[in-house]
Symmetry: C2
Subunit: 149 residues, 2 copies
Amino acid sequence: MSQVVISVSGKSASNTRLNIQARQFNFVADEPDGFGGTDQGPNPLEYLLGGYAACLNVVAHVVAREQHINIERLQINISGVLDPSKFLGLPTNQRVGLSSIDVEFDVDSDASPAQLEKWIAQVKQRCPAGDNLANGTLLSLAVKVPVAN
Amino acid sequence: MSQVVISVSGKSASNTRLNIQARQFNFVADEPDGFGGTDQGPNPLEYLLGGYAACLNVVAHVVAREQHINIERLQINISGVLDPSKFLGLPTNQRVGLSSIDVEFDVDSDASPAQLEKWIAQVKQRCPAGDNLANGTLLSLAVKVPVAN
């Protein structure tokens, strides 16, 4: 299967606001007032979890078709708990990211609970965003400065 | 530092489209035509990377202030490569998620290259979304079915 490149580009509009472009789409991230932002859009972790939810929706339907499960209605609720200490530079033994991520599939289906458990187990395995969150990903960060600098 | 709960809720509008709500905000994820979708919004991994970019923007400014670095302009470009084989249920030895994630900070600053490298190293350490991507996160998935089912 040929590989696919996924890319986004974000222009910093303030200390907290980023104007993000992905292909023909634009979306805005910001922080709420309580985090020093101007609350002009979802915050970064809301987009992260939203992307994971969206990935699960796609995979859920692919796997349901494979397993001959009929999904009449699906809502995906995701939450995580953050300790902002390390992000803010305060002493802590907590990790800087979400300590865990909980996903609830609120579903109407005529499938049995056992069939739905089998479905969810496969969905978890086959979700690209979930793999990147669960299993660690190599992140390479580089700075590009103007040649004349 | 008190903990913060981050949560989103997505309603499945089609096999590929998810209508996502985070606090007062709504955003739409979909897949392009080539992936069986209707291309009504960024795809799931674009939101995932967009959320990471937005997180980096916030942390970049926090750390720049701490390190007395002046950032005049900042653009954050992120890309990753996906092999869709496993997602589609095809035989493969590739992981299902992005194989790696590359971040470029395109920056105008009067700081030296060495100062900027030090800045980026700290930004990488202090970014919550980056921690969740780099270091693995416990994902708990559960199904909720109607009581009357």
